[in-house]
Symmetry: C2
Subunit: 480 residues, 2 copies
Amino acid sequence: MVIDCFAFFKEMKNKMYSKIDTKIIEELGAIVGQTNVQTTKDILKAYGHDETEDFVFLPEVVVIPNTVGEVSKIMRLCNQQKIPVTPRGAGTGLAGGALPVCGGILLSMERFNKILNIDEQNLQITTETAVITEVLQNAVKEKGLYYPPDPASKGTCYIGGNINTNSGGPHAVKYGVVKDYVLNLEVVLPNGEVIWTGANTLKNSTGYNLTQLMVGSEGTLGIVTKAVLKLIPQPSQSLLLLIPFESPESACAAVSAIFRAGITPSCLEFMERRAIEYALVYLGDMKMMIPDEVQAHLLLEVDGYYIESLYEDCEQIAKVVEGFGAEEILFADNDAQKRELWRLRKCVGRAVKKGTIYKEEDTVVPRAELPKLLKGVKMIGQNYGFESVCYGHAGDGNLHVNIVKGELTEQQWNEELPKAITEIFELVKSLGGTISGEHGIGWVQRPYMPIVFGEVELGLMSAIKNVFDPNNILNPQKIF
Amino acid sequence: MVIDCFAFFKEMKNKMYSKIDTKIIEELGAIVGQTNVQTTKDILKAYGHDETEDFVFLPEVVVIPNTVGEVSKIMRLCNQQKIPVTPRGAGTGLAGGALPVCGGILLSMERFNKILNIDEQNLQITTETAVITEVLQNAVKEKGLYYPPDPASKGTCYIGGNINTNSGGPHAVKYGVVKDYVLNLEVVLPNGEVIWTGANTLKNSTGYNLTQLMVGSEGTLGIVTKAVLKLIPQPSQSLLLLIPFESPESACAAVSAIFRAGITPSCLEFMERRAIEYALVYLGDMKMMIPDEVQAHLLLEVDGYYIESLYEDCEQIAKVVEGFGAEEILFADNDAQKRELWRLRKCVGRAVKKGTIYKEEDTVVPRAELPKLLKGVKMIGQNYGFESVCYGHAGDGNLHVNIVKGELTEQQWNEELPKAITEIFELVKSLGGTISGEHGIGWVQRPYMPIVFGEVELGLMSAIKNVFDPNNILNPQKIF
């Protein structure tokens, strides 16, 4: 679905923003060089989508700066001229945060791809923000250090996108999400001013926490050009277990019990049977027999420095999950086995989406509420007649719900499904949860924000946006 | 020093705010009951100071609400009538955040002292905010759970004050500071509206992080009435080491090396020789011989679930610190010994302050910069002729610098010392650090904010303040 701006946004855009004329294109060229200002249809199309369903919004121009000074000049120009700017990292977002829905400039950060310093004394990394997450992880691993946040897209996504959506990933359950690792950010504000948000310290009680305000703000408050991130020592040992259950609900119930036993796994992932089935078809080359009675799995990792204590943890976990009817546990203690199990888990999202029309919801609840959430999602699916494939970070209570179009009509998909999603999100809210755990709100979840926040909270957020961006030029029409 | 509003603030107050007349006192009485509206001089004086040096600012009235509805009504009234309100927890703050510098209402939160729910399934606690930190810690410990942040004042301070200053404490080095445990907050805004800032979830990517914006905002954006805090399993084992060094610099240098060896201690505290000497005098009943050549100590704790792995950690630590000339290590493995060592460390602040005129600075730098910071502080002290006693959370790079008036004249203390403090803070900034790690800015550090933030950053903070509190009635004249 290629959208050359919705009619509504086109009209709004004409009212609120300037057109990009040849003079502006020339000025942009003078800032970043003509080759980094692109207007051909193919390129506009390539930068007009992220990984969110099949949306494509065409920007008017793609600009690819290389320095913070260039970004600053671009923003000053756009702020003066009232030109909308949509910053873009690797384009792996799942909520449409990088879609240029108001046209204007698509600002690709791809050239900010240098790691600037790995500080082995202070266990910190200073990096530009278009470094691929896995590249950063591998670079610090070589020094015996660890940067834990690892979204499923870590092989392609940028650290800047991770910061802007406050990403998590499987290891968040023990090590926390991106916000727990961001110490300080260099940010270009919508008016072109450049700030650092904090200090390179582990503790900071010095004024309002601008750093944490930027994290998860989805490129609506400023453009993050550099980040100072906390690192920790790399754990040297890990064990991985695949634990089968007869019902998804008992798998989810076991999750909470594992923590109650005093164990904090380094990963605790949930996959319902259909999720693994999709993954096995997608991979093609992996052999795995799932007995008929097995309806869900937990993938559980423990890590640390002393292998003996990890074996003790696993023994305790085995006892706990037995109480929830766990079947025979598959125990992976060598790298090849671990890699295979992770390959399986990590492809689930892609597997479900391949060749299907789908919507992905990023629900999160307090972890003990997972069984209720899962049951509710399935019941809502029955009522509306859709298949949902559920998997995700059970240890955090973060359940990804992939809704597959399947046999639904266009009318059902476009008009009925939003009602079903509303019901899912209302359930999430009633369980103490929220509508996005790690993907962000971006473009596609915007209509659902009033389910979790009232007018007062949304009013505060809008007013904060207005403080940073009074002309509403930076990633407009996102979040709110 | 009892101050019935500085002349400057009195004048400003007369311009900006209304006087509290009998009609307002009556209205306040109708909201909270007459007995909870106090205007006698003794009571005004008792609530007119916190633990910040010897400042006393008299409020016009002390109001002691009991419910969120009452706080809401008070704020609505004050917002309409333009009356300044200074919220107060236990009054243990060290930066004057709870000083009613503009007079008006001192809003004591002391009756918000109930723990509402310890959720053992989700490892969360929901609490009112005037619960004493140690009371909360003990309540969750009884359930096998752990709330790590433990400022030195934990026996008297409130959790709400901890949230408002983003407190740390010795265990922050492994477990993080308050911000890492706050999931969701109930907040009364300056206009009386009541909001929840987030969701009761471990992950959240749903709009701007209002929760983190509130943490550390020192009661200037809203009044926190309830908090949902994350808990973790209580570690069952710990070992404590007191490690003597011949120079403070080598003690500080060892800190960074310990982390580089892959060990994350659960505490890593620094005390220079004078700090321990003050503490021993203060305690009176503790026998401890410090050899002449020992000039500093590290107090180091490791914790976990498996005692064998902790012994292994300690062996490794011993090897590391040997390289920095560590003398004979005192090893505490029973509770009585541990209690004694902690008693020593925890009284240092009080010991230095007792009977002296002092100023306490809460510097924080990347941890490997500690030796440079310490050296710089001592050199600045030599230049200006003051004694400083340094101790604190070395693992976090958080060094408390207590400056003792001693033989300084009033003129030197009042006019020269601010220059010395400016030099210390400029050094901190140049080392990548900031001027408060865990105490906050409050009233006394306000003049130094421009050292760490430029006009643009301070402008953003002021504008955010203005979003929440356009009439500037809530804790005015703090932070900025």
